[in-house]
Amino acid sequence: MLARIAWFEIRYQIRQPLFWIAFVLYFFFTFMAITTDAVQIGGSIGSVNRNAPYVIMQILLVMTVLGTFLTTAFVSTSVHRDYETRADAIFFSLPLRKSDYLFGRFLGALVVALLVYMGVVAGVIVGSRMPWLEAERVGPFLATPYVYGTLAFVIPNLLIFGALFFAIATLTRSLMYTYSGVVVLFMGWGISRLLLQDLDDRWYAALIDPFGGAAFRLVSRYWTVAEKNTGLSPFTGELLASRLAWLALGGLALGLTWARFAFSAEGAGRERRATATDDVPAPARPAAPATAIQATQAAAAPATQVFGTATSWRQFLRLVRMEATGAVRGVPFIIMLMFGLLNFVISIGLLERIYGTPVHPVTYLIIEAIDGTFGLFAFLILVFYAGDMIWRDRNLRLSEMVDALPVPTWVFWASKLAALVVLLVVMLGATMVVGIGVQASRGFVHPDILLYLKGLFLVQGIPYLFLAALCVFLQVVLNQKFTGWIAATVIYLASELSPLVRLEHHLYRFGSAPESPYSDMNQYGHFVQPLLWFYLYWGCVSVILVGVAHLLWIRGTEPGRAMRLRIARGRLTAPATAFMALALGGALATGGYVFYNTNILNHYLPTKTRLDRMAEFEKKYRQYENLEHPRITDVQADVDIRPAERSVDVRGHYTLRNKTDKPIPVLHLYLSPEMTVRRLEIPGARLEMEDKDYGYRIYRFDQPMAPGATLLVSFDLTRSYHGFVNNGAPTDLVYNGTFFTNLDYFPHIGYSKQLELDDPNERRRRGLPPVQRLPKLDDATARMSNYLTSEADWVHYDTTVSTSSDQIALAPGYLQREWTENGRRYFHYSMDAPILDYFAYLSARWVVKRDSWNGVAIEVYYHPGHTYNVDRMIDATKKSLDYFTKNFGPYQYRQVRILEFPRYASFAESFPNTIPFSESIGFIARLDDKPDSIDYVFYVTAHEVAHQWWSHQVMGGNVQGCTLLSETMAQYSALMVMEKEYGRDTMRRFLRYELDRYLSGRGTERIEELPLMLVENQQYIHYRKGSLAMYALRDYVGEEPLNRALAAYVAAVKFQEPPYTYTREFLDYVKQAVPADRQSILDDLFRNITLYDNRAKVASWTKRDDGKYVVSLQVTAAKFRADGQGKETAETLDDWIDIGVFGDQELKGSSQGKLLSLEKHHIDHADETFTVVVGEEPRKAGIDPLNKLIDRNPENNVTNVTAGAAPATTTVVKTSG
């Protein structure tokens, strides 16, 4: 019987259009994802094969997430259908067993849903055979990933969600509750995404994510490209746990359904019960006697009806109140609002964490969190209620009565639109109240109410008005509630996704406007103007939509299409026509003005077109890459910044010198096309070619420039921003917080490799050869330039910079003079020694805090109010200067300046004695409440100060490994200062983050991973692996010997002229600090990609007579070498690895116990057992317990020590203690 009911269900649902629509959609979507980059499922796949097992598993997983609504539809309709068609009474009277009916239906619906996923499978298989795919990106067909994905994700997810929604649908008989269930699950998914960012919460993340996505991410997080192309994730650990836990929950739901389901027409349905009891006849009353009737009739007489505009408004207000209160009190609204708020509150807990350290809950972050977490709910509420309000009277069969009332037609739609606005205001008000509450609960008691009003109600709120208008329009025009809902969703998705196909203009992406990030320094700044115009434009469009809705509004019986148009014509009265014309005119005028700004005053370039241009530039001018040019030796510039006008003038001159031994006949110049050239003088040369589109010029000398000759190039340039752009408004020149460098604002000598496209796939698509990130290590010619620029070596630098009277303007160098002239402030800065040809200009309204260390002036220029960590920065600067001067050599300057710049970018960057530091990374970090949180403000400051040595003294040549000499060494230097300040336990936690980021970074590699020594500007290597390698090296060699070697190296190569130093030379110095028998660690750390898989297996202790504890520890160790694609080969073990034992926790809340013993042991076998004697009762023990080595499963290096007899020894026994 069960099978027959299931079969009936399958046959029924397969004949429904929903099944076929879903199937085709799934097929098509997957097909597109496989064959194009325009559609991505679960994020970009980079260089991984298009049909890699990882990709297949990921697609199947993500499609089950997207398919939740589908599963819900199939499963809930399987029961709901009977209630809706009132067939329940028939079914329930049949001789069926409850379980047959329930589970038969359930099973049938599940099979149908499963069939839909075959569309995904077909999409991958067919897609990966398409002839236009790059052959190198298609792997062989493998059946296992499909089977695996189906078994691990598709079927469990169908079962889980099917069971949950089946339970809700069956027990509540309410579609609303069922869909609310879906929303709850999505919250679980969203929260797990946030938790994943924090290392310690990952297990929770895996369990909370109902789809198993977080678990899959965890098990596959460190996969390299090679592994993604071949591997299947092991079905263990987080993945297994998550699947089992959720399946159990699903099973529970099914059981509950079965137990609670009443197999009768008077089932558990709430609405049903309500009417059943209330539907008793009114108490029969005798007809009122005739006299009474006369009396009441007389009383009824004087009802005064008044008509006119005032009455219409009264009616409007009454309807708004009715609609809004009805909705606000309704269960769907309350549920969605609660979910939205909950989602928002949870996200705040994880706000902008860096290394697990939170930030102060400042108002703009709260507002951004609302945007990111509450937006979806606001969207759902508006779309849902627009349909609900417009259809309620018709669904309740009240419309005939209401439509015949003497109410103007506009009152009907306007009241519903206004009620939607009321809902919106209630929602935003609620988020604001909750936001302020959250701020207060974290001790942040200065909520910026005005900013809430601006950011929440205007910037975020106004687009929802457009959405409301669109929904009303769609519901009226399409005249079908579901279609209206779907159409609104599709329109929003389309405007969200259209950039993928180069359609980026906000003029046709409904209700959208350019991003408008907020910064405390610059506030909404120059983003206000485009926002205003786009909002005006969409406002006019919305008015048109509402106007059309008015014309087509159905009043009374639904007319046919022709009749609707006839009625609409009838409603197009003179005022209505004038109104529409006005709106249309407004839309055209504002749209035209926007277009004028974005496309005529500025270039409108979709992202991909921009890439095309980069490719074009490279194709045209790369031929000049190796041309010899004179180098800049002196830079003098007068820079006038006009913040209010967002414009800047750059006047100055370069002194060039021919440092080669040959005459130079031509001079190539590159200037950003954004700059307007007023004057550009190259004495003795004529302009041979000028490409204004790309800013490339070629000058030919009348007499070739002789070796050793010098030349004075002078220039007068200006840049100003006119109007506004569609996207990516420049943030370098702003009202408060200008920050630009010579890269974009000064002329450049020769072809600039920095302008090349670096994504290998984008290059291939545009017919460019594979990118060469850096010349080979031993390319001696390349080392004749430093890696920063080939235009100069060390330059003399002198600049005068001016700004408006209320701001301070800064550039590297020492302030020589400051004066005011014509209402502007001037600052003359000069350097007394040559610097690298890289300098920055900043201007803002700052507060300055000054301090000093051994005669070095320390200054922090910060935004008023951002005082939280200023002292910490000064402290870090002092301690860094102290450590670096002691260990690496003297500091070359007499000042260190830290300058806050707006959060449009989040980095800090070291210029000579000047360090711009983003508002978002440190100025609002919250470091006071947890003693062991990682102080990244300290870390970033120390890192940047270290660059004064490792960049501004030691500069690598432009070959592989060059960033080791700057970034890796700055990391190492910062780590040492930090360790002094915060101790080894904090360092251990810091390095866990570094390890995690290194290992996950490997999976996103687009070309090939390289050993540290050969790093090609790969951040996950030079920062993350660099930290680990240098820390491990310090551990083997000792801090002092290592620093001695480094100091010698600095002394040898600092301020060096070409050829520049490189990592071979660096390692030659380091080598001297490494004992002869341990030289192989340099191979492991620098010359190869080395990975370990160390594990503690069992540990136990026995107490000795002398009161000491003997710990016996069984471990396994393994070592691998990986190639650039991540393919591993086993390596013979011949390593010195830590064996450690931990006791009780030292500090409450500290993650690890007190270290009782830690000693390096020589390990040359995979399985070994160690015996360690310690003085206190041991708790944990392990191999490489502090995670100094690169190990993909760092968690299993340590195990609990149990009391009892020592385990049987295996291969080798080594004793120490």
């Binding site: 009824a300 007489a301 008044v306 009264r314 009454r318 009565m401 439509d403 019986t557 007319p559």
Partner: protein, 301 residues
């Protein structure tokens, strides 16, 4: 002086091809007007058209000097409309809902509105249940609520579409009493397929079927016109076909297991027939019968 409702040549064909109204012409003066016809006759279409809820393809309707098809707002101000089927907000009380309707009817003065609503509640005998949720109302209470909202604001054109369908006899009686109280000075159109409602309440009537007006006038006069031409006979059930072939059978009804038929003929067809005094029902069925192959099946109260 109450205006007269005049309907001239109103036709309506639905997109599906169904001709709902076919040149309907009627003059409806003040007083209760019964619109009688079988299901699907076009009654509701006509009612909705008068109530501004639907557009005819052609024709003209005036109410006094109001052009009903063009001056919809003016019609709505004078209108009280009780549709054939209607719902309510289930969670709202009768009092609140009537107050709401009163605002929408233009009674904006709060004190006046309160008086009016309370009076209407009294008049429709809903006073005691005014605070109950409408969702809990019985069918009869709901119909009375419906007429209560229709009567708000003293309308001069009242349209009630099949108000008694589905009511039990006691509720129907009560409802009809209510209708009969409505003043003589307003136009009241009562559409129904229950002949008795018309004969009980209406001073004028029209019979409509297939979208056409088959007959209209004073019920008493139309009955008189049939006097002496209606004959009744009790027959066995299997004889029906034979009798139908021979005579103009306008109605059949079962009486104690046997079939009683009414036949229209200028004189007594034969001795087995006995003359009966005609009722409105006979007028109705004979009119439908004359009109052609309509479903004139013996439907009667």
């Amino acid at each position: 002086m109450t205006p007269e409702l005049s309907i001239e040549g109103v036709s309506k064909t639905y997109p599906g091809g169904v001709r709902a109204l076919d040149g309907v012409t009627l003059r409806i003066p003040a007083g209760m007007f019964g619109l009688l016809g079988p299901n699907g006759a076009g009654k509701s279409t006509l009612m909705r058209t008068i109530a501004t809820l639907q557009e005819p393809d052609s024709g003209r309707i005036t109410f006094g000097d109001i052009d009903v098809l063009k001056q919809k707002d003016a019609v709505r101000r004078a209108l009280g409309y009780l549709p054939q089927e209607f719902g309510v907000y289930p969670k709202v009380s009768a009092l609140e809902m009537l107050d709401h309707f009163a605002v929408l009817k233009g009674i904006v003065d709060a004190r006046r509105r309160k008086e009016t609503v309370e009076a209407i509640l009294q008049r429709t005998n809903l006073w005691d249940v005014r605070k109950r949720r409408l969702g809990g109302f019985s069918g009869g209470m709901r119909q009375r609520f419906g007429i209560a909202q229709a009567l708000l604001g003293n309308p001069t054109l009242i349209i009630v579409d099949e108000p008694t369908a589905g009511l039990d006899p006691a509720e129907r009686l009560r409802f009809n009493n209510l209708l009969s109280e409505i003043g003589e000075n307003v136009v009241v159109i009562l559409s129904t397929h229950i002949v008795e409602d018309v004969s009980d309440l209406c001073s004028r009537m029209a019979i409509i079927a297939g979208g056409r007006v088959l007959q209209s006038g004073d019920p008493a006069r139309t009955i008189d016109a049939l006097r002496g031409r209606v004959w009744k006979k009790i027959i066995a059930r299997d004889q029906l076909a034979a009798v139908q072939a021979e005579h103009t059978v306008i109605s059949t009804r079962l009486v104690g297991g046997r079939t009683s038929i009414h036949v229209v003929a200028p004189g007594r067809p034969d001795a087995s027939f006995e003359e009966v005094p005609p009722g409105l029902e006979d007028v109705y069925f004979s009119t439908l019968h004359d009109a052609g192959p309509q479903d004139a099946g013996g439907r009667a109260a």
